[in-house]
């Protein structure tokens, strides 16, 4: 059995394999790259195009392994989709962890509240965030199967990466998407850990010279659409080096795409001419290239950007602009990575009473302020940095992060050289598969957060006052995969025949709370998640309305998801609490 590592990314997905004695390596992915053209590319852009009949002829969508395609996934979807934004699903992964919507409802392509209500809007096919993710995974599976007909992907050991910040619902939904794509057994792995595994795979045993007990590595992952931080500590385990993931940050919807748009807005103003949608796209493409050149090593003084004429007449209609190094550094380095103090905090604009439903983009574009907050929250300063994500390829951005962390920590900070920053996560996932088979060192860490269930205090009802809510710790931080915690008996009950809903909370900074600890629900650091619920049907044994005393059990599965169980105290029955993915206000 081979190992497949899948990086299910917000903007790009990648595939790697390891097997037998072969070291982990990434695989190119066959996909539709143009109308009726199929070729391999190193990554699969995570875009889904659902064209109408006049927009793309079905013959142009066909794949060697699937003649009846009515949609496209990958490069052609992204490129043609830019001209058909109303048919294009993008950032499905960010929607997968957006609690403001029902994540299993068909809401993508998202049209915004205004157009949602507009009866003039043409319908068209729509999919759920789960289904869109499933289609990316299904494409990877089918592409593999086509190349390896005797060794189907579903029979291999499959690892899928998720952001460390994914909550239990988003993790569960990722597993559901994998199942929908035909992967019955997958294991989840956090992306920053995967990036670290890629570093371990690339460095081989030499990593033991890079790091020593007491070192703390910051994994700084800035991708196209999201930013993710984790801390990994190197400890001494009876004379051997051990790795422990000690902190993960929040899910920050901020990344390289924001930077490209910012630069395009600057250049667009200088052009002084209104651009149509396609010229705007060409401008953003040009700005992305300029960004990579101007922030890299040996940057030129300026990069010309040409927007070719829209019609068949090319030369006369070409718009010319230029981005200088000073402009790029001022806007991108100082704008997105400003020099800030260790006690800086990101600005949080208070949401208005009515806010359009959409992705909860970060309000503060300063990635360094988010980083300062993350490090302060956990009270640990890193000794080393491992970069990941396409944006962090830029030498000047790496230098800025290192400069700041060095200033905050008051000592030198090392940079760990890892694998290709675009492909590291997939590669690391494949390597982790080998680690699970006993070939290599494993990062310990378990669950990144502690989880709590809300319990209403028993007290006389007072009009106008909601009864205070206590949070009962059901799963302490750091639960390893495959482990189960039983809660001490408590006065919990399920009412037969009624859907019982429990409020559900998480905390990233309360390591000391043991299972069964009871704290106030408004304690600092506690974040409310989607509720969990259970309907216990009446049956021969139990009549409707009857109260069944239960105790709680938390189980972290081998897959990497969290399950909560209610076990009847009389021993007759156990029920799994389901995550509610319904819309909430």
């Amino acid at each position: 059995m081979k190992i497949l590592g899948i990086d299910l990314g917000t903007t790009n997905s990648a595939l790697a394999m390891a097997g037998g004695e072969a070291p982990a390596h990434t695989l190119p992915i066959a996909q539709v790259i143009g109308p009726g053209e199929v070729a391999e590319r190193p990554t699969l852009p995570s875009f889904l195009l659902l064209p109408g009949e006049h927009e793309v002829p079905p013959a142009q969508l066909q794949l060697p392994w699937s003649p009846g395609m009515r949609y496209a996934v990958g490069l052609f979807a992204r490129e043609r989709g830019a001209e058909l934004p109303h048919r294009l699903v993008s950032s499905a992964k960010s929607w997968l962890c957006n609690p403001a919507i029902d994540r299993t409802a068909q809401v993508l392509p998202f049209r915004g509240a205004q157009r949602e209500l507009d009866p003039e809007m043409e319908g068209g096919e729509r999919v759920s965030p789960v289904n869109a993710s499933a289609r990316y995974l299904a494409h990877l599976r089918a592409a593999w199967d086509d190349a390896n007909p005797d060794d189907p992907a579903a029979e291999q050991e499959v690892l899928v990466t998720v952001p460390a910040s994914f909550d239990p619902v988003a993790r569960e939904l990722t597993v559901v998407a994998a199942r929908e794509a035909g992967f019955d057994r997958v294991t989840l792995l956090e992306e920053p850990q995967a990036a670290f595994y890629a570093y371990l795979a690339t460095r081989g045993d030499a990593w033991r010279q890079d790091l020593a007990p007491g070192n703390v590595v910051l994994v700084c992952d800035v991708g196209g659409g999201t930013t993710d931080f984790s801390l990994i500590e190197i400890t001494d385990d009876a004379g051997n080096l051990a790795l422990e993931r000690i902190a993960v940050g929040d899910h920050i919807l901020l990344g390289g795409d924001n930077m490209d748009l910012a630069l395009a807005a600057l250049v667009g103003r200088e052009l002084g001419k209104p651009l149509d949608a396609l010229q705007q796209r060409a401008l953003v493409h040009g700005c992305r290239r300029a960004k990579e050149l101007l922030l890299g090593d040996a940057a030129p003084a300026s990069v010309p950007i040409a927007i070719l004429g829209r019609g068949s007449r090319l030369i006369g209609a070409t718009l010319k602009a230029e981005v200088t190094r000073e402009q790029a550094e001022g806007l991108l380095v100082d704008g997105f990575f400003p020099r800030v103090a260790a006690d800086a905090r990101p600005e949080r604009r208070r949401a208005g009473g009515l806010r359009e439903m959409g992705l909860p983009y970060a309000h503060d574009p300063a990635i360094t302020r988010h980083l300062a907050e993350f490090l302060a929250r956990f009270g640990r300063m890193p000794t080393h940095v491992l970069f990941n994500g396409g944006v962090m390829k830029a030498a000047k951005l790496q230098a800025r992060i290192v400069e700041l962390v060095r200033g905050w920590a008051g000592r030198e900070v090392g940079v760990l050289a890892g694998a290709d920053l675009d492909l590291a996560v997939a590669l690391g996932a494949a390597h982790y598969g080998q680690v699970r088979r006993g070939q290599g060192i494993r990062i310990r860490g378990g669950t990144a957060r502690a989880y709590y269930i809300g319990i209403e205090s028993a007290m006389p009802a007072i009009p106008g006052f909601a009864p205070p809510v206590k949070a009962l710790c059901v799963a302490p931080q750091g639960l390893e995969e495959g482990s189960t915690v039983e809660l001490p008996d408590d006065e919990l009950g399920l009412v037969v025949g009624e859907t019982q809903t429990f409020r559900f909370f998480a905390a990233a900074t309360r390591k000391a709370d043991e299972a069964g600890a009871l704290i106030d629900a408004d304690t600092d650091g506690l974040v409310e998640l989607d509720p969990v619920e259970k309907l216990v049907e009446a049956d021969g044994e139990r009549a409707a309305g009857q109260l069944v005393p239960v105790r709680l059990e938390a189980h972290v599965t081998e897959v990497g998801t969290l399950e909560l169980w209610c076990v009847a105290r009389d021993g007759h029955g156990r029920w799994k609490l389901e995550y509610s993915v319904r819309e909430r206000g």
């Binding site: 053209e37 013959a59 969508l61 066909q62 090319l314 030369i315 070409t318």
Partner: protein, 216 residues
Amino acid sequence: MSRLILAFQCFFLVLFGKKLPPAATKFLPESTTAVSHPEPAVTAKAAKEQAPRPEVAKPTSDGKDKAGKDTAVGKEAKAEPDRPKVSTAQHHRDGALALLALLQREGRLIDFLREPLDGFSDADIGAAARDVHRGCRKVLDQHLSLEPVVPGEEEAKVAVPKGFDPAEIRLIGEAKGEPPLRGTLRHHGWRVVDAKLPALAEGVDRMVIAPAEVEL
């Protein structure tokens, strides 16, 4: 003049029962060239499995009826006997057109070549050419691996070995004696080491290398 030499060469080769030189094959009638001339790598297998047909069939959109479930995409290499017979000539033509479509899509090459340059300054042409170059270069890099036929610096002395292939090395000027020959490398030549051209779906009209665009 060189044709005269070729003609004499062919005369003696045929007389002694040897094979014709590659340069001579282009003078053969069409039906024989398809067999005697090596096919480009991408379609070589297809050519062997499907008898070449002289007349070019127009691509039909109802390929489904003939093809059954396997209408889809260019797995020509694994062609089954009951697949629609698409002529080799059409495969060649579609491949060439698809490459043109790629160059146009990524680098606007057709627009560039079709636009009259009169009246534009070199700076204007240069600004556009930079983008055309970048786009077309990307297509080359993604789909073709190229290497020089003769490694080494141009303008340096090189030895042309005995038994060299005249299709690989073109001699300029008169050879004195038998190879190995000494000469100056004027152009190192280009060889495609690997052509990863896109597989092409059937039922797509490749004659349209850039569709008209109408904004709504």
